[in-house]
């Protein structure tokens, strides 16, 4: 077990190193001199030169890279060119809406998606199954922002049931916080529900044809026990894997959803950063999301041992 975690850790570091090099080069290749940008327009050449020296931009690229890595490991993600404040501070200010949306969407889509998938697998070709096929075709094809505007139009503008846009922080009341997140969560969740349901269905179908399912039936187990105890636990590993891998997809959706619903989250931060050419922010968000992705997938791998006793590392 320990050896496995160690091995996984090493490969995780390798992946992160690749990401790091990639992102670092990406930004060094960016047109425009960061020093000139910091100095502002019409700055004296001497000032720019001294800023270059300060930032270490005159050192060889590998040296710059090592210094950059060291800073990041020390928690220093640099300073926003536009806002002039530490990137980490800006990100942590924007974290709450993004995390709220991501976690609510996860909860919604895993509960609904898994149940939907199980029911569809239980009666293949039945009503639920055909409903899922139609639903997932739509869920895969309609982009988050289109669903978002549909929801806003029908549930907020036309009926006034829910607020149109915006975010209320958690500490200003659970009710308003939740009400503002309903539409974003549903908009982002629909595609995700379809995805989780499809995977669940496929995984369940495989398990349902196993010999031990027949044994369970021969014991007199009820349909409920067969599906939710005997089959689901066996189907769990692939479902979990796919949920872990699709995390990156979820974050992509979060960026769009935040724009549609005007949520002051990380996604908005990035979009604004592009318009301002604020590279340190883009860079840091990329590093952090990909680090989170790798960690989540490591956690998923370790969670296998809880589900399937045959998996021992």
């Amino acid at each position: 077990m320990a050896a496995y975690i160690l091995r996984r850790f090493v490969s995780t570091i390798a992946v992160m190193a690749m990401v790091g090099i990639f992102i670092f080069l990406l930004l060094r290749l960016a047109p425009g001199d960061p020093a000139a940008m910091i100095a502002g327009r019409n700055a004296a050449p001497q000032l720019i030169a001294s800023i270059r020296e300060q930032l270490g931009l005159n050192d060889p690229i590998p040296v710059q890279f090592m210094r950059w890595v060291r800073d990041i490991l020390g928690g220093d993600f640099g300073t926003s060119i536009f806002a002039g404040r530490p990137v980490l501070e800006l990100i942590s200010q924007r974290l709450e809406p993004t995390l709220s949306l991501a976690i609510l969407t996860m909860i919604l889509s895993v509960t609904v998606g898994v149940s939907f998938g199980i029911l569809a697998a239980w009666r293949t070709g039945g009503l639920v199954d055909r409903l899922l096929a139609a639903f997932s075709a739509v869920g895969y094809s309609v982009p988050v922002f289109v669903i978002g505007y549909f929801l806003i139009y029908f549930f907020a503008i036309r009926t006034h049931w829910l607020p149109v846009q915006g975010y209320v922080p958690f500490n200003q009341g659970l009710g308003p916080w939740f009400v503002h997140l309903i539409l974003p969560t549903v908009a982002l969740g629909l595609g995700y529900i379809a995805f989780v349901a499809r995977v669940t269905r496929a995984s369940m179908l495989e398990v349902l044809s196993e010999d031990y399912m027949r044994t369970a039936a021969a014991k007199g187990a009820s349909s409920y026990a067969m599906l939710f105890q005997h089959a689901l636990k066996n189907a769990g590993v692939p479902i979990l894997t796919v949920i872990g891998i699709s995390f990156a997809y979820l974050i992509g959706g979060v960026v769009l959803t935040e724009t549609v619903f005007n949520l002051p989250g990380i996604g908005r931060l990035v979009v604004n950063a592009i318009n301002n050419r604020d590279y340190p922010i883009i860079q840091s968000v990329l590093i952090l999301t990909s680090g989170l992705y790798v960690l989540i997938n490591l956690a998923v791998d370790l969670a296998y041992t809880l589900i399937d006793p045959r998996i021992r590392y």
Partner: protein, 335 residues
């Protein structure tokens, strides 16, 4: 012989004209084509035949465990204690399964759920059919493991299937099947997937337990040798039909169907010493997709005459308690 005089209330299970079909993409397979037989209380009945003759389908039809999408029972009755199982609701059927009729399967490697402990899976059977608490069921599971002679049952209850050998898993399957003291145990090729030495142990275990509990056993196998060791009465199946039915002694003394005869000749017999070569039955099992005219065994039968290819023989008594579906049964017995 005494079978004939048995009182009706000694009949535990009776199949009448059972017909099961499989539906493929463009073809229909008549997997069972009018099967009728009885299982008496406490007896051991062997069901013998080549792969694909319908032995397992018979077992699955009795318990209604056939795959819902592709298979259907289209006719006949399965009477258990005189009550037709085919007319029960799913709920009522579940009460029978595992409680009054239990089954063990051919593949001990894949027939146990890999993510639950053996103890959990045995206890589950107990809890489904009794109001036993979790701890009582666990204790019962341990007791059952001891009964099937698994060493160290206190420790084994918390083992997962992958931590046990094939023989041990099959013992655990038997423990699970017998946990609710069923009146009928259907054993579908329980030893086929095991090593020869383990096979003998498992067979002895089933016979032993049967004697101790008084459970009737329906023993499905392709191995006449296994039947000889374990059963009192035998049914021989071929191409979805029963071709012969007799007590074990009658069958081995004078088989009345050429197919049974063929099966016996292809058995190695240690008393005859080293044989040059085991005779085999020429030809292959006919496809059950096309309607069969005449006797389904006729193309492979050394006794076949014109009538065999034209009219389907029905089961008839060739002597007391011995039936066969062959136009020339008398000649076959004499041969």
């Amino acid at each position: 012989m005494q079978m004939h005089q048995t009182a009706r209330n000694d009949v535990l299970l009776e199949l009448r004209d059972l017909e099961t079909r499989f539906y493929g993409e463009e073809s229909v397979t008549r997997a069972l084509d009018g099967i009728s037989f009885q299982v008496m209380k406490g007896e051991t009945l062997g069901v013998v035949g080549e792969s694909g003759c319908g032995k397992s389908v018979t077992a699955l039809s009795i318990l209604r465990l056939l795959p819902k999408v592709s298979a259907r029972i289209v006719g006949g009755e399965v009477r258990f204690h005189g009550c037709n199982l085919l007319e029960l609701s799913d709920r009522e059927m579940r009460k029978i399964r595992g409680d009054q009729i239990a089954m063990i399967f051919q593949e001990p490697m894949t027939s146990l759920n890999p993510v639950y402990t053996i103890g959990h899976q045995i206890a589950e059977a107990v809890q489904i059919h009794t109001k036993a608490s979790r701890s009582v069921a666990k204790a019962k599971a341990e007791e059952m493991l001891r009964l099937v002679r698994i060493a160290d049952p206190e420790r084994r209850v918390s083992n997962y299937p992958h931590e046990m050998s094939g023989g041990m898993r099959q013992r655990a399957m038997i423990a699970m099947a017998l946990a609710c003291s069923p009146e009928l145990l259907i054993a579908d090729e329980p030893t086929t997937a095991l090593d020869v030495t383990i096979q003998a142990q498992i067979l002895r275990l089933i016979v032993d337990l049967k004697e101790r509990t008084g459970t009737a056993v329906m023993f499905i196998t392709h191995d006449l040798g296994v039947v000889a060791e374990t059963c009192q009465r035998v049914i021989v199946m071929y191409a979805g039909r029963i071709v012969e039915q007799a007590t074990i002694n009658d069958l081995f003394a004078s088989p009345a169907h050429p197919y049974t005869q063929g099966l016996m000749r292809s058995m190695p017999d240690p008393r005859r010493g080293r044989q040059r070569r085991l005779p085999e039955i020429p030809g292959i099992v006919p496809s059950l997709r096309d309607p069969i005219v005449g006797c389904s065994f006729a193309p492979r039968c050394p006794f076949a005459i014109d009538i065999c290819r034209e009219k389907t023989p029905v089961l008839r008594d060739v002597r007391a308690g011995h039936t066969a579906a062959c136009w020339r049964a008398e000649e076959v017995m004499g041969a």
